[in-house]
Amino acid sequence: MTRLDTAISDVDALDRLATRGSPIHRLDPRAKLVVTALFLLTVVSYPKYNVVEMTPLFLYLAALLALGRIPALMLARYLLLACPFALLAGLFNPLIDRQVVTYLGPLAVTGGWLSFVSILIRFTLTVSAVLLLLASTGYVAVCAALGKLGAPRLLIIQFLMLYRFIFILTDEAARMVRAHSLRNPDEPNPPLRAWGSLAGHLLLRAYDRGQRVHTAMLARGFDGTLRLPQGFHWSMADTLFVAGSSGFLLLARYGHLATRIGQWTMELAA
């Protein structure tokens, strides 16, 4: 439950970030959604041994981070929380793939190490891009943008309901745990055989509560359509953002920027 608790407070923090104002926040959610999707596609389209040519993508992330006024420490915390997964995912690559593919001075680099580092970079890029989208747009706006772009309406309603009910469910769970600990001060955890009916009761209580919430929403005119306070306005800035980002992504993917800059620097130094 502790992991759920921190997760819930993280969600809260992310959504609060989305209420700030910045040039990135003011872009149309659809533009940000499209660009994020393009970014993810670009990242995963690199060959698996690619490490160096991915670095220009960090330029893009850094610009978004700064322009969107998103605290870098927060992003770092998320990455740190999620990184054991990526580490474990690539862990066996260096052991299995021992083919030497290149030399860095005296150092022989195997394919496995390259693909391992590549996985870590992919992980950092993809996780950061999604978090930046959310922190600069907000969950509800992302859902609304998905709906505008043609996702099924019922699916979007379910996205929103789930989000709302996660809070309802954790509130109910917290109440039940408190009730138990008040009645059994010496036993912090309920006995194992009680967990089944506890879970069942939690479900029923949350359901009843959810039904009241839903009725209240209906009474206030909820008809399944999303009305964002700021609405959707596709402006020149959005077109420029999408066009500029796509151009940059293409350049980063096929321009061999890092190698070119490196060669150029070494020629200068020589």
Partner: protein, 355 residues
């Protein structure tokens, strides 16, 4: 069982996205008439419930995937297959968006692996086992059987999708050994939990189970059209993306070369042949993948980049280019930090000027 973006190729991710979106649209379409006012809150609550249950997970080393309760069966039993699929979609989407648990590109894979099997394939099995007059024993048997089977097939799909993507080095056999036994254990636990909750709800609020029973009144669902549509869409998207990517052949192309070793496949560049080649590659993929310890299978990977059009791309064989690449990459990263800091400073100054 969440897969991450880092180990997915665009072809596999795109094909599975198309499949899952298709299934979601189909579910939303089928659900509308039976969508009662009472079902929406139940969908939300159960979604949150399964969401919380999935937070308890273990990472399975080297597979790029995690082990946790799936929750697909409990959703399907209490909501019916169509609503359950949409709920599973929403759960995984929120996890991908907020918790970096499974990637956005991998979302299509994850929804398919965790949602398709319990909702559309093993729900009929569960209904057959509990029959017309459910008992606790039957609910228990049905939950465990369908839960175990759903998770086994879901885990198997994870293995297939990861291998087709070609980014992880893990051989097929080892991958299976890591994934299947863990999910067997999880499946049994999941079956017991599912049975406990369903039995409780069945006793305390039988009318909730009747909500999902609406779908029993429908004509028996035929799987054939879904499967055919899904196969066509997956094939189309996979082929389209492969064409897009084929100027710089990567994962799939290498795999094709490695597995078939036939040049004549490449000699047929027209659309139909390319599509068939993809199909053949997918069907003939597994057998040869079982014994990758022989170093010979890995050599083409190392040699391939040199023959590619991307002459300058990593990993070039020439040491000079590699060093240049590393130097360049370092400079670019430093630039990224610099640009970020500068932009922030400029903004701060503007803010001060405004206030």
């Amino acid at each position: 069982m969440h897969m991450a973006d880092a180990l997915i190729s665009p072809q596999v991710g795109g094909a599975m996205w198309a499949t899952s979106l298709g299934l979601a649209a189909y579910s939303a379409h089928r659900l509308k008439p039976e969508m009662t006012e009472r079902k929406i809150p139940l969908m939300g609550v159960l979604g949150a419930f399964v969401f919380a249950a999935q937070m308890i997970n273990v990472t399975i080393p080297a597979t790029g995937s995690s082990g946790h309760l799936g929750g697909g069966m409990i959703l399907t039993i209490l909501l019916g297959p169509y609503a359950a699929f949409l709920v599973m979609f929403s759960i995984l989407a929120v996890q991908a968006l907020f918790f970096a648990d499974g990637g956005l590109l991998a979302l299509g894979c994850n929804v398919f692996n965790l949602g398709f099997w319990p909702c559309f394939v093993f729900y009929p099995l569960f209904k057959k086992i509990i029959g017309k007059s459910p008992t606790h024993g039957r609910i228990m048997t049905g939950s465990i059987a369908s839960g175990v089977l759903s998770l086994q097939l879901g885990a198997f799909c994870v293995v297939l999708q990861t291998l087709l993507s070609g980014i992880s080095e893990l051989p097929f056999g080892a991958f299976l050994l890591l994934m299947q036994p863990i999910h067997l254990g999880i499946g049994i636990i999941e079956g017991i939990v599912t049975a406990a909750v369903v039995s409780f709800v069945w006793q305390a609020r039988p009318e909730l189970l009747e909500l999902s029973a609406d779908s029993k009144l429908e004509p028996a669902m035929s799987l054939k059209p879904i499967l055919v549509t899904f196969a066509i869409v997956a094939l189309l998207v996979g082929t389209l993306l492969s064409w897009f990517a084929s100027t710089h052949p990567d994962g799939l192309e290498w795999a094709l070369f490695r597995v078939t070793g036939k040049e004549e496949l490449e000699a047929s560049p027209d659309g139909l042949h390319a599509a068939m080649a993809k199909l053949q590659e997918k069907t003939s993929f597994m057998p040869d993948y079982g014994f990758p310890e022989t170093p010979a299978t890995q050599e083409p990977e190392a040699e391939q980049p040199a023959t590619e059009a991307e002459a300058e791309a990593w990993p070039a064989i020439s040491a000079g280019t590699s060093v240049a690449g590393v130097v360049g990459g370092g400079i670019v990263l430093a630039l990224a930090v610099l640009i970020g800091t500068l932009l922030r400073l400029v903004q701060r100054r503007q803010n001060v000027a405004v206030s």
